[in-house]
């Protein structure tokens, strides 16, 4: 499992092993201030990071 979240201290505290930094509490996988294309790009990159973490043996 990989967790995408902006609340890193909490994820760290409860022992979540694979954590990817999300993009803000109110839109963890998006950004309302970006254009539609930019947002899709951001989300794609976030998901790619998450997939990378799943394949990594290192704690993130």
């Amino acid at each position: 499992m990989v967790q995408i979240t902006s609340a890193l201290p909490i994820a760290k505290m409860v022992g979540s092993n694979r954590v990817v930094l999300g993009h803000g509490i109110v839109h963890v996988a998006g950004d309302a201030s970006l254009s539609f294309q930019e947002e899709k790009e951001l989300r794609r990159n976030l998901v790619l990071d998450a997939l990378k973490a799943l394949q990594s043996a290192e704690k993130e």
Partner: protein, 346 residues
Amino acid sequence: MRVVHYLNQFFGGVGGEERAGMRLEEREGAAGPGRLLEQLLGGNAKIVKTLVCGDNYAVEHQDEVIASVLKKVQEAKAELFIAGPCFEAGRYGMISGALCSAVQSELAIPVVTAMAGENPGADLYREALYIIDSGPSSAKMRDVLVKMAELAKKLVAREEIGLPGEEGYLRRGLIRDEFVEQTAAKRLVDMVMAKVTGGPFESEMVPTSFEPIPMPPAVKDLSKARVMLITDGGLVPKGNPDRIEGSAATRWGAYSIEGLDDLKGDDYEISHGGYDPRFVQEDPDRLVPLDAMREMEREGKIGKLHNEFLSTSGLANPLSNTRRIGREMAEKVKKEGIDAVILTST
């Protein structure tokens, strides 16, 4: 005061490990350590029955033994139930904890037991019960019985029970409010002065430690993996059909994304009071990134995206709920043959 006492085969004087399979037996009056316990309870306390059972039998037939004991305690019109002391004996500690817990909730009479802090029974039952810390060694039997008797008398008399250090019980991990003499400000300055001068101080709260979760091995081949999306941001279908609560949620749901490439705001709502929901309501992919995941699927970066996402609300949710929800979700993950999960959290 009528008391019923539970002992295992060893303390009941029947035998050692070789008798651990014995069934539940009933004796009139006190037996083994019960004799001293009865004296220490004083006044008109009388152990009217001693129940003895083998540790193996008790653990293997726990429900039956509990039902039996409840019946006998009720028949004896007991006002107090005591089990143990168990010291290090793990099976003994488990059954004593289970029995005390059942008597407390079903019959609402005071219960006391005792065992070492490391006893597995302590872990399971310390929150529900007052468990005297007996330490591992039965050489301390007398001291332990004294503490058990003192605590038992207070419980029966409905007196206020003091702190773990004072009464000798294992810290239960519960919180209660009390008015004290000193203001928080005074206690705060006292504490920092002790800390900076190297003096002793006792923090009013000890940070809880979450047990480390062993890191699951990396996914070997994502291009063949079945991936599931889960969120604690409270995204649910319009109408919240499973009535997932926005705060302190006790429920979770599994929602179909079969054939969908994209989540539309019109089809969903957010049940979570802890963040401004506008952005996710506008485009739920901002919370559950279905569109990006479908791309991954199409491009062969993952094998298959599971046809449901799981959802609950993480807001102000006590661990008593979230531990259970996590376990249940994990069972679903296993059942569906999922290889990897992406959890998005607000």
